[in-house]
């Protein structure tokens, strides 16, 4: 991200597209991500949403929390539905509309990956935002493909998840699309700038947002930002952009190049979901993080 074009708190728009009093949990990371990204997308946007916490946050008939047109669709069809909205916009010659799919990690990397892959391969002119809270939160914290290893969920209740986190942005990047980025709920301005940049491009654009979830990760709601920052500052979750195949760390992650990072254990200790982690896994993850950063 170019320094001089960076958005600051002071020039970030006051305009809100999400009404208060919605059903998101207290301290919800998604709420902040949604609120911030919608500021960047602006009024001329159509949203496509599969089942997720966002479905609940969207409201109950006949009241909606979002001030943008939105179609709720079936779980596995998000990429296809966004395709359909864009096709309709083309057919109706309404080209100046952002068509934005917004799904959770399950809706994106698990049940929704086929339709998303199809849309990416076809080069559909859509923005796809995945908020990754690293488990199926809307159904009550079951493991997902992006749940990290060792995490306690209601379907990995004793030993924690045995497998490692699925790297969804890399899978999407393998489609050769023009824009893949990661962001974090804890760095809303970085997120805002990435979404804004995505609106200026065409073709499939994918933004994967690390999104702390107080009840699902088992931490006090006031620490949503702190914990999101620790994930980045420990080098575990990296903020980056891949523009036309060129990878660059951005924001806080870029600042970490060549610097000592917080041990991953300090991040793990903040959340109840990691409480069954043994030393072996902690060491393995720390080694993986070190090896990854040695390449940056």
């Amino acid at each position: 991200m170019d320094n001089k074009n960076k958005t600051t708190i002071l020039n970030l728009t006051k305009e809100e597209f999400v009404h208060p009093g919605n059903r998101a949990c207290s301290g919800c990371g998604l709420s902040l991500v949604y609120r911030t990204a919608l500021k960047a997308l602006g009024k001329d946007t159509i949203l496509v949403v599969p089942p997720s916490c966002l479905t609940v946050m969207q409201g109950l008939h006949p009241i909606a929390s979002t001030k943008l047109p939105c179609v709720n669709v079936t779980f596995a069809s998000t990429g296809a539905a966004a395709t359909g909205v864009r096709a309709a916009m083309k057919a109706l010659k309404k080209e100046n509309v952002n068509v934005v799919a917004w799904a959770g990690d399950g809706g994106t990397g698990d049940i929704g990956i086929q339709a998303l892959s199809g849309a990416c391969e076809r080069g559909e002119d859509i923005i796809y935002i995945c908020y990754d809270n690293e488990a199926y939160m809307n159904t009550g914290v079951q493991r997902s493909g992006t749940t990290p290893q060792g995490v306690l969920t209601t379907t990995t209740p004793i030993k924690g998840k045995l497998q490692e986190k699925k790297d969804v942005p890399s899978i999407i990047d393998a489609h050769g699309i023009g824009y893949v980025a990661t962001a974090s709920a804890a760095y809303p301005l970085d997120l805002y700038d990435k979404v804004k940049k995505a609106t200026t491009m065409s073709g499939p654009r994918y933004i994967h947002v690390h999104t702390p979830c107080p009840p699902g990760w088992s931490f006090d709601a006031r620490f949503t930002i702190k914990i999101g920052k620790l994930a980045v500052q420990s080098g575990l979750f990296d903020l980056y952009e891949i523009i036309d195949g060129t990878f660059n760390l951005t924001g806080q992650s870029k600042k970490l190049i060549g610097k000592d990072k917080i041990p991953v254990l300090d991040y793990f200790k903040t959340q109840g979901r990691f409480k069954s982690l043994d030393e072996q896994i902690v060491k393995k993850v720390q080694d993986q993080v070190n090896a990854k950063w040695a390449q940056y």
Binding site: P20, S26, S31, H61, A221, I225
Partner: protein, 101 residues
């Protein structure tokens, strides 16, 4: 007979606040801003606004002083945690606030 009107009922919702009701009632702790410590108040100019930026529920205004909408503030405490001046304290909801005294 007038022609039958079809599709009179679909689930189509209109935007508005308070879908979840008065979510301020969820609060256990209430954020109280110490205006003497609040940066934009102290500087008397647009500054800081971390409380506004990080509020997940957009219930803090970007004004001097920042004002919290207690009808909908869920009391998460992120504003208190992220205030660089430590100007926001989370007080027990049962504690009477200044104006109530």
């Amino acid at each position: 007979m007038a022609p039958k009107e079809f599709c009179k009922m679909i689930s189509r919702s209109k935007p508005g606040p308070g879908d979840g009701g008065n979510t301020g009632s969820w609060r256990v702790l209430r954020p109280v801003i110490d205006l003497k410590a609040c940066i934009p108040v102290k500087m008397n100019k647009e500054a800081c606004f971390n409380c506004w930026l990080y509020c997940p529920d957009s219930v803090v205004s970007k004004t001097i002083p920042p004002v919290i909408n207690f009808e909908y503030c869920k009391g998460c405490g992120i504003c208190a945690e992220e205030c660089p001046a430590g100007a926001i304290t989370m007080v027990n909801e049962a504690t009477p606030i200044e104006e109530d005294k």
